[in-house]
Amino acid sequence: MDLAMSPQSPLWRRGFDRLERMIGEPLEVVAHSDAFFEGIARARRTQEALEGLAEGLSRRSLHLFGVPSRSEIRHLREQLAHVERQLRAISKQLEAQASQPPTTARERSGASEQAERPSARQPHQSDGSSAPRATPREPASPPPTRSEG
């Protein structure tokens, strides 16, 4: 009991803190070591390999019952995400176009001449990074509208 101890911290707590440091410090050394992170990477790769093996074994039996395997569902989800991303990009381009003021045929022809020149404000992506998506401020490449033509 903490009856005779300092009012700030009970006896059990001071004992706990001492014990925690005794255990915690060596654990921190281990958890921050090269071997620990290499172990995590290795465990992750092993887990993936085992999952792949299990998947290969279970796929055929799942197909017998007309059930898709995990990797097939994952593949479908990836495809769906890809399609949704494309839809997202197209809707942003349309939105950007809709927010631009209507232009005359002469301005459009001037704009198309300018578009052929390299832009000073939006440099070419030279570092291999992904280009920012089209924004209402600077649409990357406005698609042709139905009204044109």
Binding site: L27, D34, F37, E84, P132, R137
Partner: protein
């Protein structure tokens, strides 16, 4: 040697311990049963802008005394309700009552669809649009940006790479710029012991579990210490409410979009590009020296996630006036907890007020 106690003092302490144990039992039961979980992030607000999963929230601050409005920019890996934890323990509530018009940019919860979101997506697309939306909503020409952790990095990149950005002042809290001092986890990526392929899952993102466990490796016995704190203060209703709220937040991470994560590892961790001045975004160079608006760099001395040495070089790196606020605390003392209410937020509000214009009793 322990001081001796008089019988009357001994009796008083016994009585207190009995009372505390009774309260411990009551609070312990409700904690385990989960019957008194606090409601988090409940300050009244309106969604004023939305794009993909990002949303801009405008809090209903009743009496706005300062201009321009303040826009909080949250991190990509955690939930933004840390800025609005509980009534009486909320950064948003404090700033509202201090007379500021507060917005929050929340990135939402990323999924497969957001796996290809890059830093450019956030800095060049979402942030400029959210800033425009906040200006339109508030009727102000400019804003103060306040970024927390990785949100601070995004705010810095935006301020540095958009010279025409309508920012009056910039606040960054627990924001790393020198990634060479970001601790053992960053070192593992830097030295190639961990690759992004080891971390990014099949959805293309870094899963919240990986983020949570990554933070746990910083202090492996941290959870035990939390349980000891819980037992020590289990009798205290106010402490319990804060403990449950913080506990929920620390376990509540969101997926980190894989493409942005790869950029973070390559450019920020491996190249330490912010420090070396070699950062590029969308193909153009980004230099912190181009941040010319007044800046407040808020750092915590006991922060184990963003150590002081990772955050403090920013003050000298920016090209404009820069002030520092150092707190004797950890990573979350910026926005929540007793220290935040007593020390961080009053000083933050003072700095903001000194860099703002007075409004004439504007009401919403």
């Amino acid at each position: 040697m322990a001081p001796t106690l008089r019988p009357v003092d001994l009796l008083a302490r016994l009585e207190r311990d009995v009372e505390h144990n009774a309260l411990r039992m009551r609070n312990g039961i409700s904690y385990v049963a989960g019957t008194h979980r606090p409601q988090l992030g409940r300050s009244p607000k309106d969604v004023v802008w939305r794009r993909d999963k990002a949303e801009l929230w405008h809090y209903r601050c009743s009496r706005i005394r300062y201009s321009p409005p303040l826009m909080l920019v949250h991190s990509l890996v955690s939930r933004s309700y840390i800025m609005d934890l509980l009534p009486g323990n909320s950064m948003v509530e404090f700033l509202c009552s201090a007379g500021f018009d507060v917005f929050m940019l929340d990135w939402g919860i990323a999924d497969e669809l957001d796996a290809e979101n890059t830093l450019e997506t956030y800095v060049d697309e979402y942030l400029p649009l959210a800033v425009d939306a906040a200006r339109a909503e508030s009727g102000s020409d400019e804003l103060t940006l306040d970024g927390y952790c990785l949100g601070g990095v995004l705010a810095l990149l935006y301020a540095a790479s958009h010279q025409d950005a309508p920012i009056r002042t910039l606040i960054v809290m627990a924001t790393p710029v020198d990634w060479d001092h970001m601790g053992p986890l960053a070192a593992a990526f830097r030295e190639g012991r961990l690759g992004t392929g080891d971390i990014v899952d099949e959805s293309g993102n870094v899963s919240p579990d990986v983020i949570y466990n990554g933070f746990r490796t910083i202090s492996p016995t941290g959870q035990l210490v939390q349980y000891a704190n819980l037992w020590e203060h289990l009798w205290d209703d106010e402490y319990m409410q804060g403990y449950q709220a913080m506990g929920q937040w620390t376990r509540d991470h969101v997926p980190f979009p894989g493409a942005a994560f790869e950029q973070m590892v390559q450019r920020l961790i491996r190249e330490n590009a912010l420090m070396r001045g070699t950062m590029r975004l969308g193909g153009r160079p980004v230099d912190l020296a181009d941040v010319r608006v007044p800046l407040l760099n808020v750092m915590a001395e006991r922060d184990t996630i963003v150590p002081l040495r990772a955050a403090e070089p920013l003050t000298a790196k920016v090209g404009g006036e820069a002030d520092e606020l150092r707190l004797p605390a950890g990573h979350v003392a910026f926005a929540a907890g007793r220290l935040a209410t007593k020390l961080t937020l009053p000083r933050l509000a003072d700095w903001l007020a000194a860099h703002s214009l007075a409004c004439t009793g504007k009401k919403r």
